[in-house]
Amino acid sequence: MKCIRCKKTACVALPSHHSGFCKDCFPLFFTKQVETAIRREKMFTHDERILVALSGGKDSLALMLELKLQGYDVTGLHIDLGIPNSSEKARKKVEGFCELHDLNLRVFEMEKWGLPIPDVKQHVKRPVCAVCGKMKRHHFNRIAREEGFDVLATGHNLDDEVARLFANTLRWDTAYLSDQGPTLPASDGFVRKVKPLFRLSEFETANYAFLKGIEIHSDPCPYASGASFTHHKELWGELEYRSPGQKFQFYQSFLKKGKPAFANLEKEIGDELKPCEECGSPTSAETCSVCRIKAAVKVSKAKAEAE
């Protein structure tokens, strides 16, 4: 296969775009997709401060590097989850990456905050991935607001977005279907959230990360085995193979035709949000779920220690 731009031997084949690119032209394609996402979805400008959530995986590190190369004012935020034999490796990758590329980084430690994820796994009956995700979103939003960032960017790619949309659709979850999208505007208590990689697949970000020499943390989370999103991604991988371009079409059509209908429905039946009495984060209850979980773990730990 030849590169569609320069006719050299291609190193990345993209059936959904009916094209292939060589190692020099593929990053140009990647940059263009990110530029288009930022412009069309009005994500941010060069005058704004962007906080980028960094897990240590290929997507978040690729996003951080690409935004820096495009001249944006970016700071990384890594949350050290406190999971033995896993979190320290991810943190090391993020710190090494930021040092190498001269990038600002802020690290938040769950253990110092009083709730490492192993405690959640041990003391909370709900699935640990759901609670961990909730905790991370809470701190990303809180830190972005407290430290005056204009926008929070995450490395969610097209596969992440399609898997999530698929899961939300299987449950007909109107609340999630009403606001899923590449740009979530700021609202009371919430910073603006954006996903500049939403036009790019995991395959595309993996190729970009490899070509840019990004060393990634690729070990799966020891607590994440059998996450349903992974199964959904496999299903969609097969659909995409049979009909290249189907993922993007499903997602774009939802944004255009499905989301507005769910947003209208949610306006009628959705919960009203107010500040949490403990931490001030927006919640539909008196105390937000993160503060409730933290308190419940404290009680459960004290009880276990007393026994």
Binding site: P15, K23, F203, T230, K233
Partner: protein, 65 residues
């Protein structure tokens, strides 16, 4: 014989009678956009041919978490 180092699994697999990248992917039950394939630091598309003694790194792209 082709040697395949599979990531992130950390497995090493030997394959005989395998002459192309797509044949390697088929044996691993992977579609071409589910993994990147690297030989001597170079990314390969699925249509590339292989030769006896090649060592490949096949990195699955689906993040697990």
């Amino acid at each position: 014989m082709i040697t395949v180092n599979l990531e992130p699994d950390g497995e090493q697999i030997e394959m005989s009678n395998t002459r192309s990248v797509v044949a390697v992917l088929n044996k691993l039950k992977l579609r071409s956009t589910m993994a990147i394939v690297v030989r001597d630091g170079e990314l390969l598309t699925a249509d590339r041919m292989l030769k006896n003694g090649d060592t490949l790194m096949v990195r699955k792209v689906t993040s697990a978490g």
